[in-house]
Amino acid sequence: MAVNPQAGDHIVKSYDEELENLNNDIIKMGGLTEAQIARSIESVIRRDPELATRVIADDELVDDLNYEIDIQTTRLLALRQPMALDLRHIVAALKISADLERIADYAANISKRAITLSSAAPVPPVHSIPRMSRMAQQMVKDVLDAYIARDVDKAVAVWHSDETLDIMYTSLFREALTYMIEDPRSISMCTHLLFIAKNIERIGDHVTNIAETIYFLVHGDRMRETRPKGNSEVETMNMSFSPDNKGDAEE
């Protein structure tokens, strides 16, 4: 079966096989990345430094796949001189693998902080992390499904859902800020937690990149969706440890 539902098979069968291998490696890398996020969050929730250590070590598997995809795309570009849809397929694989690699890096970062967090008493905002991470994991899963099916509508829907993740992050930021103001002894742990939340929020941003790449892959054009962007960035940047903002954070 053709990798791209938009077009039939190539006259040269080995070309189809190479494109299919590339497609399969992206899907494999996506699956591995999904698992890395799930396990990293588990290491935070279960306060499990051993699991966290394994997640950090396994990031290399994702890096290896990323390198393998770099090699495959370079080889395809040089040997097949792809055109049109095939060219976009290969360029998209290159871009998506870079986004997945970065997402997996965030999972490893989360696990690094999980090790530190597990050494101290839990701080309450940690309870918001699972909900946020479930959302991010679902986005990664959905965007991969959209990639497999070349489903632009689904990619656009995932792209829009990043807004919810941004709102969750802003909310967690406020919560953490409140705890830090009330109990300065929690500052260190709350800061680690904030970085974890920020990493999850960044995962969402890379998912939107992938959604945009899928749109380009299918249509050969730029996605022109709009949404209120950067709420969390602006809001969180305007928040500070001033008494005024304390009230704001408690809203």
Partner: protein, 279 residues
């Protein structure tokens, strides 16, 4: 001139969706305008309602599988099809507003104005000098030996051959390598000051180095001339042209900027052909 943006096919059916050609008003910088061109070889129709604008000082590539009509169309532009008895051309082809098929038109003058380079280099069995001097002599465009020398020199210069042959202009044209012979043929076409140069697979008999030299030459020539090239190499079309037209089964399927054609063509037949799915 028909001003309709989209008109029905000759059989009254709507033009198939996604078929994009240059029906209607010609583009702003069109050097050649072809409208409703139909070509027949006896009973067999080779081209169907072709509408295509060829922009000035650009390279336009005609691509498509064998027998798609691209060479037939190219040969309509300087009436090379006239030499085939059973060939009939209907429709209108204008170069700068002048009807190419006007019965009063001097075909010899037309072919000086619209030069042609063929697949296989075909120098005359004469010296390098005489190969180039031949055209200006028969057209009487030069009045003195000094002037002729200058035309030969500048034509060789423009075709990138001068440095390689300036010491041996008396040697036969056929003594040159294949790539040099092809550049000699280009110099011969240039010598009679054409506006348009047609190239029919000019590199298919050449090695990659000679091909690269011709491609570099094409890039330089387009500043002065309008170039139309027929090629089977998609990569070559992508490298040398600014505009690409895809022919299939005698129809012009799609014409667009080359960049658009090779990254995101609009017609699935174009996509199938350029990605190697055609067949």
């Amino acid at each position: 001139m028909d001003t309709a943006v989209v008109e029905p096919n000759s059989d009254g059916t709507e033009a198939p969706k996604g078929v994009i050609d240059d029906r209607g008003e010609p583009m702003e910088n069109a050097k050649i305008v072809a409208r409703d061109v139909n070509v027949f070889y006896g009973e067999k129709q080779a081209l169907f309602d072709v509408n295509l604008d060829i922009p000035e000082n650009r390279v336009t590539a005609l691509i498509g599988p064998s027998g798609c009509g691209k060479s037939t169309f190219l040969r309509c532009l300087n009436r090379m099809n006239d030499v085939i008895d059973i060939c009939r051309v209907k429709g209108r082809i204008e170069i700068e507003g002048q009807d190419v098929y006007d019965p009063a038109l001097d075909v010899v003058q037309l072919r000086a104005r619209v030069g042609m380079v063929f697949q296989k280099p075909n120098p005359f069995p004469k010296s390098i000098y005489d190969n180039i001097a031949y055209g200006p002599r028969i057209h009487g465009t030069v009045t003195s030996k000094a002037e002729l020398d200058e035309v030969v020199r500048s034509s060789l210069e423009k075709s990138g051959l001068l440095k390689e042959v300036e010491d041996r202009l008396d040697e036969p044209g056929t003594s040159l390598s294949g790539g040099q012979q092809q550049r000699l043929c280009i110099a011969r076409a240039i010598a009679v000051s054409p506006d348009v140069i047609l190239m029919d697979e000019p590199c298919s008999a050449l090695d990659p180095i000679a091909t690269a030299r011709i491609e570099e030459l094409i890039e330089n020539l387009r500043e002065r001339y309008t170039i139309v090239i027929v090629t089977h190499s998609m990569q070559q079309a992508a490298r040398v042209s600014q505009r690409t037209a895809f022919f299939h089964l005698g129809n012009l399927v799609e014409v667009d900027d080359t960049e658009q054609m090779f990254t995101n063509p609009r017609d699935e037949r174009t996509q199938g052909y350029i990605t190697g799915r055609y067949g």
